[in-house]
């Protein structure tokens, strides 16, 4: 009879890392569906491209690092990065954009820092920022929501658009981006900002067809879908409540104060919460465990920092949406936050080093 020697505990009861990651992807599915319904099938093409690139680059680096490839691919962390980046990119952005972004995220941001668990920055967001700075034109070419599109696009058109920057009928991306009113469309946040710059008040800006209902056609639903996914993650205990609540809370509070001071020039809390990438970032990006703070109190500070930064950048900065920057900045602050928010150990009075 042979015996198995093992260290205690001999019992385990928690989703494994790969299960956790898979849950994130599953929770993202409703939002992906909404996004592809509202903004066209290009999202799916981008997803496919991102996933393939992510796996390929992960495998390549693991091979170069002499690590086992299959078990590490199976942890699905690359998959999550790919999904998060793909949904952040305009649906009809050129194919090389997402390929460069994903490869950068996996190779430079994740693996060069030591692989899963060692990266300082959120890979998807770091890649997003890289793309935004390097290819600002392509990164802001959002198509209008399907309801407002002049030219409807089929799945095949989506593939053509991503690879050729034109639909199968030969319509250029520029033409595709024109809305029913013949105007080139941007995201609601972008439009509102531009209008503000041009001297319009927000209520005036909201009159545009893009803002049906005050938040922006499609974007509201998309954010709702992300919120639903986020709640699923919370329910499954894949993420903890602290980061999303503090992100959304601080953002809402800041905008509420600003909005009550001057509703003409400041976004309403509702607009802030349900436009752009707010829900995606609060539930799926800021909660990335690797780059977030690791103490309970620290996570609240971390979330608040992101919320405030988003508000500041959206209100005063040069970029329409700010989550990528806010998350990266907060990532940088994590070691500091962690150091000063160490919990008090049982039986110890104060944390040493404070």
């Amino acid at each position: 009879m042979s015996f198995r020697i093992a260290s205690s505990p001999h019992q385990h009861n928690q989703k494994t890392t790969s299960q956790l990651m898979l849950w994130v992807v599953i929770a993202a599915l409703p939002a992906i569906a909404v996004q592809s319904y509202l903004f066209g099938y290009g999202v799916l093409v981008q997803l496919l491209l991102a996933i393939v690139t992510a796996w390929a680059s992960e495998a390549l680096v693991l091979m170069l690092r002499d690590k086992t490839i299959l078990p590490r691919l199976k942890d699905h962390s690359a998959l999550v990065t790919a999904v998060l980046l793909a949904v952040s990119i305009p649906a009809y952005a050129p194919w090389w954009l997402v390929v460069i972004g994903t490869a950068f995220a996996i190779i430079m941001v994740k693996q060069l820092y030591g692989g899963l668990g060692f990266n300082l920055f959120n890979p998807a967001m770091a890649a997003y920022v890289l793309l935004l700075i390097a290819f600002p034109v392509q990164m802001t070419q959002w198509l209008p929501p399907a309801a407002l599109q002049q030219h409807a696009l089929g799945p095949l058109d989506a593939v053509c658009a991503v690879f050729n920057q034109a639909s199968c009928q030969g319509l250029s991306l520029e033409q595709l981006r024109q809305g029913v009113d013949g105007m080139t469309m941007a995201t609601p946040l972008d439009t509102a900002r531009t209008d503000l710059m041009m001297g319009l008040t927000l209520p005036e800006s909201y009159q545009k067809p893009l803002f049906q209902g005050g938040v922006g056609v499609g974007w509201f639903w998309l954010n709702l879908a992300w919120l639903a996914g986020g709640l699923l993650l919370l329910q499954q205990r894949v993420i903890q409540w602290r980061i999303p609540v503090s992100v959304l809370g601080s953002l809402a509070l800041c905008s509420l104060i600003a909005w009550s001071v001057n509703p003409d020039t400041n976004f309403s809390p509702l607009f802030q919460l349900f436009s752009g990438a707010t829900m995606l970032a609060a539930f799926f990006i800021a909660t990335d465990p690797v780059s977030a703070s690791t103490t309970a109190r620290g996570r609240i500070y971390y979330g608040v920092l992101i919320g405030v930064l988003v508000f500041v950048i959206r209100s005063f900065g040069g970029y329409p949406d700010a989550f990528a920057f806010a998350v990266l900045l907060a990532n940088m602050a994590v070691p500091l936050i962690d150091y000063y928010t160490r919990p008090r150990t049982y039986g110890h009075k104060v944390v040493k080093g404070r």
């Binding site: 009879m1 198995r4 205690s8 009861n13 049982y346």
Partner: protein, 739 residues
């Protein structure tokens, strides 16, 4: 603001951070009655089953012992005895696989029960009339150590000066499967309550709090009934959460207080005992039944009848498992303790000891083996589960990096190794294992540092002493020189010439002497080697020479030689001829030495010893076919010895003063030789030994400060060992006491 006691009386409960909720799997087991194990064939009783030091073993192989008879003597406060769980025969006192995660062998008494179960005489106590000291003595002599798992001696824990506000009885078995205490409370609630009363008599607490997890309603009601309205006693159901049974966690849960780091519960006025311990106390005091058996939960899906079993201490795990219908898988995991903190056993002969509460033999489906360790994703599930509010993942980084300072900063030593972090880790990292390794490493480092410090102190003390000795010697030499100079200037006019001559003769003598000693050493080494060779081979068959040992060596060598050469010539002849030779040579040389005996007996002794050594060497050499060189080698020794003997007394004295060490060595060698030879040699050859012995009477010349206290000059060797052992023991005891 209510006082703590009022809050406790009001039934308030607090909470502790973290914790996990593993499936308890206790329901079935806790309903079954406790089964009694038939006496096993053999009992393996480890000498040490508690935290502290083992007692002295009182029994020997072949002794017959009665049930309850102490097998070890607890002669200091850090030790408790072990007892014979039944009457029987001591088969051996030997090393046996220990019930410890390391499975290192530890001293163990093997007892074969005779089946009669005869008791020694018992003296029940009437405790209200007994003093605290008497009760503590009884508790110690009954071998009671904490039965919750740590095994801290109960008498030590109870012997406190501080005032005890709250006595907490721990009936919280938070680990899955384990229901031994539950079963005990259900069946023996009255005895447990008696035990608590005795503990109250000793400690005089203001209140007693009996904590039981709320998933054990039967135990709760049994204890409530047994307490029977005693005031202020509270039976307090606590929420089921792992690890609420941990001492510190339970205190936090029941009182909201924390035991300060590095302190004990008594420092905040609390004292905690396991229900099993209080049962054992009652048995010991009221019935004089020492700790002979305990209840063990035997569980797991590979068993047909998982149940709680009353097993004698020392029962091998295999007996218990087979009693419960063990049907092992391959590979089978057998865990001693619960699934969260228990350890796997490498073989099933490991015995049950006082702290063993569970034996688990799960199937692979039941408790799957941990998967492959993946990278930490910093999800902090571990931090949320940690009952001590540590940051397990940070500790993991630091453990991997062996960053001792950071580990200390992040309070690694406050980790109670409950395993909650590893239980929830999605990457299946064996966190606790990392911490244990790191802790062991740090403890080792601390030991090393302490040792280095001691070594340094000893080294410095030694340096100082050597320096002082050197000065002393110098002073004496100068004094002697002055005396000599005065004498010589009086007797001889040409002092310079005399001195020169002396120096010359000394120079002549010294190389020969040195060479002789070198040769002697060489011979000794060779002899040692031979002896080892001899040990491995069979003893010589026919020994007819005067010195049986020499002959044996010769024979062995010859045998080796013969084997090596695989010669066809009959070696019996050769062996015989060689065997006669050494005896003769030895006799000759001793006679020579005796003849050379001069005015200085010591010199003569040296000479004799050297000569004898030479002779031996010759014998050995001739045996190994080196007959040609023997005469050459012998010559310098003889001349050296002769010269030494012929040397004038003055020179001898001078050389002795300058190099007493050399003389001492030679004398020692001679004496050792002599001792051995006197045993075997006939009378006429006693001349050498006699002289060597006379040398012994002059211990003042020995350059030695380490003289062990030799009360028994007849056997100084034994005395030296005893002294060394005693000293080491005393030091160790001091260390443990300091801790």
């Amino acid at each position: 603001m209510q006082s703590l006691l009022e809050q406790v009386a009001a039934g308030l409960l607090w909470r502790f951070p973290g914790g996990v909720h593993p499936p308890t799997r206790k329901a079935e087991l806790s309903k079954k009655p406790i089964a009694s194990l038939p006496l096993p064939d053999k009992l393996y009783i480890p000498l040490r089953q508690h935290i502290g030091v083992a007692g002295h073993c009182l029994v020997h192989k072949g002794d017959h012992v009665m049930k309850g008879q102490p097998l070890t003597l607890a002669d200091n406060s850090m030790s408790v005895p072990v007892h014979a769980p039944t009457s029987g025969l001591i088969l051996a006192v030997t090393e046996h696989t220990s019930p410890h995660p390391s499975a290192l062998p530890e001293p163990c008494i093997v007892l074969e029960p005779d089946g009669l179960d005869e008791w020694r005489e018992r003296e029940p106590m009437h405790y209200p009339r007994c003093s605290t000291e008497q009760l503590l003595e009884r508790i110690q002599q009954s071998g009671i150590a904490g039965m919750g798992g740590a095994g801290f001696p109960t008498h030590l824990k109870s012997a406190v000066q501080q005032h005890v506000e709250l006595l907490i009885i721990n009936g919280v078995e938070c680990e899955p499967y384990i229901s031994a205490d539950d079963a005990l409370m259900q069946e023996q609630a009255d005895t447990i309550v008696q035990g608590i009363e005795i503990l109250c008599h000793i400690l005089e607490p203001k209140a007693v709090l009996i904590a039981i997890e709320d998933d054990k309603p039967a135990a709760i009601s049994a204890m409530q009934n047994a307490c029977d309205g005693r005031q202020p006693w509270y039976v307090r159901p606590v929420p089921t959460k792992y690890p609420s049974g941990g001492e510190k966690q339970l205190i936090q849960l029941l009182t909201g207080r924390e035991v300060p780091a590095g302190r004990r519960p008594i420092d905040i006025g609390m004292m905690m005992f396991n229900v099993g311990t209080s049962f054992a106390v009652a048995q010991a005091v009221l019935h004089d039944i020492p700790l002979l058996s305990r209840i063990v939960t035997v569980a797991g899906d590979t068993l047909q009848h998982p149940q709680n079993v009353l097993a004698p201490i020392g029962t091998p795990v295999s007996d218990l498992l087979h009693f419960c219908g063990f049907q092992p898988e391959r590979p089978q995991r057998v865990i001693m303790g619960g699934p969260m903190m228990g350890f796997t056993l490498p073989d099933l002969s490991v015995p049950i000891i006082k702290t063993t509460n569970c034996i688990l033999a799960p199937t692979q489906q039941e408790l799957p083996a941990a998967g492959e360790e993946m990278d930490c994703i910093r999800c902090t599930a571990c931090a949320e589960a940690c009952p001590a509010s540590l940051l397990p993942q940070q500790l993991l980084w630091f453990s991997k990096a062996k960053d001792t300072e950071k580990l200390d900063e992040y309070n690694l030593f406050d980790c109670i190794e409950c395993g909650a972090c590893a239980y929830v880790c999605p990457s299946e990292i064996p966190l606790v294992q990392y911490y244990r390794v790191a802790k062991a490493e740090i403890r080792e480092q601390q030991r090393e540092a302490l040792k280095a410090e001691q070594a340094k102190a000893r080294f410095e003390a030694r340096q100082a002493r050597l320096e002082a000795e050197k000065l002393e010697r110098q002073r004496r030499n100068e004094q002697l020189a002055a005396e000599r100079a005065a004498k010589q200037s009086a007797s001889a006019p040409d002092a310079v010439a005399a001195a020169l001559a002396r120096v010359k003769s000394q120079q002549q003598q010294t190389p020969g002497d040195l060479e002789a000693i070198k040769a002697e050493r060489e011979r000794k080494k060779q002899q040692a080697r031979e002896r080892q060779a001899e040990k491995t081979e069979a003893p010589a068959d026919s020994v007819s020479a005067t010195d049986p040992r020499q002959a044996a060596i010769t024979a062995a060598l010859a045998r080796a030689k013969a084997k090596k050469q695989a010669a066809a010539t009959s070696d019996s002849e050769r062996v015989q001829s060689q065997q006669t030779e050494p005896g003769q040579t030895a006799t000759e040389s001793v006679e020579t030495a005796a003849a050379n005996e001069a005015s200085d007996p010591r010199k003569a002794a040296i000479a004799a010893a050297l000569a004898r050594a030479k002779a031996k060497k010759q014998a050995a050499a001739s045996a190994s076919d080196n007959g040609q060189t023997e005469q050459e080698q012998a010559k310098p020794a003889h001349t050296g010895a002769a010269q030494a003997a012929a040397e004038p007394a003055q020179t001898a004295a001078a050389s002795e003063a300058s190099d007493p060490r050399k003389a001492a060595i030679a004398a020692a060698i001679a004496r050792a030789k002599a001792k051995k030879q006197t045993e075997a040699r006939p009378a006429p050859e006693k001349a050498g030994p006699e002289e060597a012995k006379s040398d012994q009477t002059d211990p003042a010349s020995a350059p030695d400060e380490h003289i062990a206290p030799t009360e028994q000059p007849s056997d100084p060797r034994k005395a030296a060992i005893a002294a060394a052992v005693a000293r080491a023991k005393a030091r160790k005891r001091k260390e443990t006491e300091l801790k």
